[in-house]
């Protein structure tokens, strides 16, 4: 169980491992983008972790990095094509960052650090943990940025609900800079400090 939850705080990929920062910042202007991105990442992470750990004995040492890259890029392209076909507006607002999942350090980092050394089951747990941690982090950032920066929370349109929750008071005069690039960096900075504090606390309590 702790393997699965470690990604939330203790080994949160964004805030503690500090990987995959670019997409976290770039697509976190709206909650819906963050959700979409997280799902994409989770999918790629799962797929590539499974493949890498399955093929770890097949892939020769000298070419293991290119091989991982090919595997990951395949899954990314899959996600990209599927999103374009079935979620075009999401695909548009995520822009090049879908394709950039490929370079995104988490996946490479995890493939190298974990999947290539472990069996399929552990790799899946790890992928889930990291993916959920990423999901958690990204949603947190986007929630803060959207609420303060735009005064709204944008989700999926469902039925008569157009997907946008407006925060009274903020929506008319949001702190717009929070939704811009400067705000993203500031928000992540303070969240990182918060996570530093959180991740140090259990150690203290234990002792």
């Amino acid at each position: 169980m702790s393997e699965l939850t470690k990604g939330f705080i203790r080994e949160n990929p964004i805030f503690i491992l500090m990987l995959g920062l670019c997409p976290s910042l770039a697509v976190s202007t709206q909650v819906v983008n963050a959700l979409g991105m997280s799902v994409g990442v989770l999918f790629v992470l799962l797929g590539s972790n499974i493949m890498v750990s399955l093929l770890k004995n097949f892939i020769p040492e000298e070419v293991h990095i290119p091989a991982y890259i090919v595997i990951i890029a395949t899954f990314v392209t899959l996600v990209d094509l599927l999103m374009q076909a079935y979620a075009p507006s999401l695909s548009k607002s995520l822009g090049v960052f879908v394709q950039l999942i490929v370079v995104n350090c988490i996946i490479l980092g995890r493939a190298e650090a974990f999947a290539s050394k472990n069996n399929v089951k552990d790799s899946i747990v790890d992928a889930l943990s990291m993916g959920l941690g990423f999901f958690f982090g990204l949603t947190l950032i986007s929630l803060i940025r959207e609420v303060f920066g735009a005064g709204t929370i944008t989700l999926f349109p469902m039925g008569s609900f157009d997907g946008v929750i407006e925060i009274p008071g903020l929506v008319n005069a949001p702190i717009r800079i929070i939704s811009l690039s400067a705000g993203a960096l500031l928000v992540v900075g303070y969240l990182k400090a918060l996570f530093n504090w959180l991740s140090e606390r259990p150690a203290k309590e234990a002792s």
């Binding site: 020769p60 091989a67 395949t74 392209t77 899959l78 949001p174």
Partner: protein, 179 residues
């Protein structure tokens, strides 16, 4: 040496499988993507006119106007135009009566600032243009609109870009006459 070739071969094999897989997926999704794009455009075009149907696309290279669609039925045109906004190009679709009166405008792709220029994506933003361009001029500066200049404070550039583009379209439609 053989082991080197073998290693390269293994990588090639992985590449091959990937390429094959993606090729197949692509052949499935490509038509869907194309179809989606077409429907999206069609929906946008239909939403711009109250009656009649949009005709076939005709590519143009008249300044900012990239293509036009005749409105079959009552006549008039839908223009596909590109304006220069605050954050870059604005893709604008606008429908006109044959006399140049604006029926409707919609802002498509853009990279304006959320909360400022992005407000122009809302349909209500275009109220100030609807019905203008014929007898009344298209408002191109803040002073020319009475109701709610509030929506454009802090986003004058976006507003002028949209307004000037819509106006240019109107002028262009006027030159086409009743064709």
């Amino acid at each position: 040496m053989t082991s080197t070739v073998k290693k390269a071969g293994k990588l090639a094999l992985i590449c091959a499988i990937s390429a094959l897989l993606l090729g197949i997926i692509n052949s499935v999704t490509e038509p869907i993507i194309a179809e989606r794009k077409k429907i999206e455009l069609q929906n946008a075009l239909i939403s711009l006119i109250e009656e009649g149907t949009p005709g076939a696309k005709e590519d143009l290279a008249e300044g900012i106007i990239t293509s036009r669609y005749p409105i079959e039925g009552p006549g008039g045109w839908i223009l596909d135009m590109t304006g220069k906004g605050y954050g870059g190009d604005l893709k604008i679709l606008a429908s006109y009566k044959p006399d140049g009166t604006v029926m409707d405008v919609v802002l498509m792709d853009n990279s304006e600032t959320p909360g400022l220029g992005k407000k122009a994506e809302k349909s209500s933003y275009m109220d100030k243009f609807r019905g203008k361009g014929g007898s009344e001029p298209v408002p191109v500066s803040k002073d020319m609109i009475q109701e709610s200049p509030d929506t454009i404070t802090g986003a004058t550039i976006t507003f002028s870009a949209v307004a000037n583009t819509v106006k240019e379209g109107s002028d262009y439609v006027k030159t086409l006459g009743d064709k």
